[in-house]
Symmetry: D2
Subunit: 282 residues, 4 copies
């Protein structure tokens, strides 16, 4: 019975790195977790246990630390691209590589209203992600945001949907709308200034989420994506994932009380999950 | 600037269900978590907030419970397929649907060596997964296993790999090999007896992992996949993901002690990650 | 063989509540998770299955929602105290009760620099906790902070410690110091203005952590506690827990590189754990 | 304003150890996570940053690995006791120490029904814990079990409880009863054969949980504790914690269906939490 290796990939995940850049007492600190993936001519390792083409994943990890030392990190997209270039250049057996990173964001501690030079507080408001996919012809640069948890207590309706025999949900013009936004977007080749672009995307997500007159999660998701594409020409397409983290209105009638949209039970499961990709077509 | 909805999907995730089937004092208990996804003609909900084509995710959740009541669950693949059929049949706007389930496995409590009729212990050894993808022409049935955590203390080498300037790993003929196997396989159309097939796959994974003379994670992964395909004709292809959960040999020389492969530090991160798809080619 | 119930307690945990207070378009939102514990004359439920003294935990949950509706929540300490009073007053069999709460903190989304009236972002920088312990004579009010993750890249030494046969750690005048502060403090009876007191504690933790010339985690922990007690007369004692979340300096010598305190590997485990209670003695 | 260090403790947490004992091809494997705590005359480290009395937590970690190499581990209680003895003997400044361990349990992989000599599967059914508390006069040995997840679908009632204005729960003679048992017990001085005693406790928990005609969680918890004390004379007292992990009967009436105790929604939160200590009084 003929059997074949149809696809393969391997690498090192969760390579954690903190790098400190010092200018006297003023320090910058970058906190990353990196996943490295290689794919290519590795069939002999699978089928015959012949490791001659295998770069050990331990070496990949070491490479992260060595490259982090040799140059300033720069933006996370830039550091990932250097790693991708390194593995492609040195390893002809590699057909493509993917370098993904999650950057934990820290803010300077404020002491008497003034940002401290070398003391940091882990910030809320989501983390920054990057993903470089490269083969010998093309490099795609994606950036993203994860764990951006938001909730609005007005401006959210859900009406006019299908009612079938299993529908019990009541239509509403006024519900709580909570979600944990995950976004990932593809940059045009040649893009740069990744840090300020990332901030623009994040600001836009928050602004549109807050101000949109929502008729449903889909409606707001699209408004966010459309606005980002209209404002930021470097972005080709964006994927948005917005779970609907429900806040259930508690029934207080058994206790002789009304509940005019005041008391809610937030639940983690089950949750709705709305996803879409919005793309520039021009 | 023209912008378009390039892809969309939505649904309900983490719909949890426990169903009890009773025959006198002898009970069967099934414990599932189900994710429902629909995709199709939903653009108006995104672009205009028009929900006329939207089946609420709350209704999807209700449907799980109603269908669970109406018929015996059967194997998890069968229940998921009924859900997929339901949503496709009733909703012409749906182009495709995906129903994924995770089944927590319980074993009967043994009292004086005898399985109890209605008391259960949450079992180790991984959980069972199923994934049905269906459009109006075709239904694909996939099953899987997740969280199968195994470790062997002999029969694992790693030698003959690339050494570059960043390689410090030592070659070894005798290392610990720990992994958490995730597998998912595609069944031939018309397959049935999903429960016994699943057990065969699980048994084969454990048997090959234990007995294989491993020259690397890739080597063992392939041996597992190849043996499964050779033994179980209903399986078309299988994807295997095997992180290398490292156990580092502790250096005891500073304390005047040797360490003849006895004392190890297991780490969760970083970890290797080896993945491949193995496919029948006949 | 005589056996006795030596201690008992029961209750409901993880009762989640979101309450919205609306003044036109301007909304306040409070997000709590509450644990209720009762102890007292419940022996018959244990020894005889006689539930006549048992208030169901489901009723405790309902009580949270009913009381949340009946009055403004106020500070989390005040709401917990109302719950404690309720259970003690209505249930003579209860000897003592403990109400613990975790408050997830949200900040208003800034749109064009202006705080939005009803859209919120889940904030970083720790969450707020409260714990009321009450019997028929006395009520103790404790407040706390959890998950306050901080890191400083200067101003931290560790020298002059014991060196025994198993000591390999190198003395240092310049290390990274990362921790996740958990604090809980006891208020003087009659304290109020819990919100502003909590902010003062949090600000002091951050200020002292940032500015302290640390000779060890113990040294900084004590400086934080001492400063809080010196500044805030309402606090009787404070317990601080500060794990030492190590950032290991990566050895780059094998790659022909130095590492002048730049490139670090942060690890989650193992971690140091330093704890102390600091008390006013006057 | 006088302030004092009222209590202090420090140590190393989550020190992970895998030890392999080899007899030819037949291997034993032990997988532990250890927490070490010391308390005593450490005030100068807190108040003055003087570390002369401080044994670094890094040294504690090294000590675990060195002691693991020097002798066979034995039962987890014995290894923890050796660690406690070591720290007390070498460090006069230490007043008391606590060594806590969690042992992950693995079972041998069965190949053709036969246990493999050196390949293991992570088992379900809870993990084993130990806790040694020792000062210069006394050593207390505690053992425990954690994460023992069980569920029974018959033999569980809850009736005759208090009904107040916030009670909506319906009395039942037939409900699902799911819990995650945590137990910890204190051994008589001089106890040994800890492995077989642990198995007896675990078997008794499962047997009584399965067979008990439960009138409430308290009732079953007490029956478990009482039986353990009556069977195992080495145990002085036992603490049991049994959350009530509710399975809610789904209301199918809106869909024209009954639900004769068949279809349930299991929830993680909120959950009841029942705890008690049962002690030998003879």
């Amino acid at each position: 019975m003929p059997v074949a290796l149809a696809a393969n990939q391997y690498g090192k995940s969760r390579v954690r790195l903190v790098k400190v850049a010092r200018q006297g007492q003023h320090h910058e600190m970058t906190d990353l977790s990196i996943d490295i993936t290689l794919s290519g001519e590795f069939a002999d390792a699978y089928t015959a246990g012949d490791n001659r083409s295998v770069l050990p994943t331990d070496t990949m990890k070491n490479t992260v630390y060595a490259l982090a030392r040799k140059q300033p990190l720069g933006e996370v997209e830039e550091f990932c691209r250097r790693l991708a270039d390194h593995f492609l250049t040195r390893n002809p057996q590699v057909a493509w590589t993917r370098i993904a990173a999650t950057q934990n964001l820290w803010q300077r501690i404020l002491v008497n209203g003034k940002p401290h030079e070398h003391a940091f507080l882990k910030a809320g408001g989501g983390c920054r992600t990057a993903r470089i996919t490269a083969d010998r012809k093309r490099t795609e640069v994606r950036a993203g945001i994860a764990d951006l948890t938001v909730l609005k207590t007005a401006g959210s309706a859900f009406e006019g949907y299908i009612h079938d025999e299993y529908t019990t949900l009541k239509e509403t013009r006024d519900r709580l709308f909570g979600t944990i936004v995950t976004a990932e977007w593809l940059y045009q080749p040649g893009s740069h200034k990744f840090g300020s672009l990332w901030n623009s995307v994040r600001d836009t997500i928050l602004e549109i989420f807050a101000g949109h007159d929502s008729r449903g999660v889909q409606h707001t998701l699209y408004a966010i994506g459309e606005t980002i594409l209209s404002r930021i020409s470097e972005i080709v397409e964006i994927h948005l994932s917005m779970p609907n983290r429900h806040c259930l209105l508690v029934d207080l009638v058994p206790f002789g009380l009304d509940n005019p949209n005041e008391v809610f039970l937030p639940i983690d499961e089950p949750h709705g999950l709305i996803e879409a990709t919005i793309r520039r077509t021009g």
